[in-house]
Amino acid sequence: MTAFLELDGLSVRLGRREVLRDLRGTLAGRSIGLLGPNGAGKTTLLHTLLGFFPPSAGRARLAGFDVAKESREVRRAVGYMPENDAFVAGISGVRYVTMFAELSGLPRAEALERAHEALFAVGLGEVRYRTLETYSLGMKQLAKLAQAIAHGPRVLFLDEPTNGLDPPARQRMLRLIREIREAGEIRVILSSHLLRDVEECCDEVLILKDGRIAALCNLEEERRANRRLVELEVAGGSGDFSEALVALGCSVGPGIRRRLKVVLPEGFGSRELYRLAGEKGVQIRHLAYQRDSLEEIFLRAMEGEP
């Protein structure tokens, strides 16, 4: 997969404070999560990619554009949903979305058509003629999402999109983000301090801590790797069973008593495990795929030295 976001020693200084320090990495996922505790520099990174803050050192490329030198091209390609309230007073939802689509360079008729589409897509179709001031918090978040996608961006920046939402509204927002990702036309960069949001929506994660990259991991690969590492608890002749597993290409790690840790080869799943156990007269009492969850990855990253 080609690199989509390249960070090459990117540093950003705001006033006297160096908020981002020497960020290096290449990300190519369809949906990239920026994860980190509050104040880690997630939003500053998004703003730097948008050209709001100039890099003090290094550079960053997004979708092939240098964010400092080609910020106009970057902004043309990006749809941005900010973290905080961002509204225009006194106008209806459809005018709000249309205006920002026009400002992104869409002709008036196309912008209006897409504004209606975007508002329906996020579930605000029925209230699109109401003024924004009358929207609830959840509706305002959805309106912000609509203005971010209406002009057909190649990249969608979502900054804490589930902030302040109740559980059903949060689920709805996450489902929408997954739909956008699955549609495959728009890449998503999601900044959040909520592990679940990132885990549900992203396939690559950049974890920030104190303005530095604490970890950079491909969740898809992690998930694939996790599917191959199994913990078993067996009853019966575990020795024969282990030998049979090794003979079939599995790696069997040392277990405590009747517990086994098995790395499965490609194409070898739980069905094959149970069949082999049946042949060897062994009962599998417990089977669990290792869950090296994002939470564990995150906690390891937070424990590491900055």
Partner: protein, 286 residues
Amino acid sequence: MTVRTRRFRPFDGTPTSTLARVLVLPRYAWKEAFSGKLVTGAFTASFLAPIGALVLVWLKYNVAALVRTPFAGGIPLAIDAQFFGFLLLTQSYFAFALTLFVGPSLVSPDLVNGALPLYFSRPLARWQYVAGKLLVLALLLSAITWAPLLLVFVLQASLAEAGWPAANAGIAGSIVLASLLLVLFLSLVSMAASAWVRNRAVARGLLIALGVIPAGFGEAMNGILDIEWGGVLNIGLAWGRVLEGLFGIPVRAGIPLVGAWASLLVTTALALLLLRRKLRAFEVVR
């Protein structure tokens, strides 16, 4: 109801030009500007003087219409530079009143509602945002300053003797120059004030205070130091002095013409600096 499918498709058409994008801003802000009855009322009232001037000029050259009136012998009024100077001075009061209503509502709501990051995440530079918002006031104030005054000038030129237009061409230039200065000054200062205080009502108060407080300070300086150029702090006086210089209308003397121009231009430049500082996607707290 139309059934719409969920499509997340990139826009692959030709994007609109920079100018077209800038013009989106006044188009959307225009409706908001005229949402209050006071603005509509003030805007309507501001045409009274130009309409009166048009009637006056027409009557001056159509004496027959004045039969049975005290002015049957003709209107004893010269249509000259001073006439246009006073007309523009009158219009500048209306322009200030309209600016008080419209100017602060252009920028401060965007700042208060956090809309600036949305504007600046588009291919739209900060100066283009300012230009787009400024166009609202520029169009509004143009409609009550140079546009109707030039209409009066054209009527006078068409009715007066053959040599009048050539002899008084400078008046048209002065009308345009003074009006543009007024439009630029009022637009930028009102936008800067609203960007600074982020509240429409307070910005209106600030604009009035800007006309009164420095003027009082200047008068105090004049009294204490026995000088006259303290008047440069009086924006109204400086504006009058500029009109005096361009149209020859008599106003209270006291400040040199250069000082009056400098007063207006420096205030405009300060407003631009303030806008540059305040209109950012995000303000960095240092």
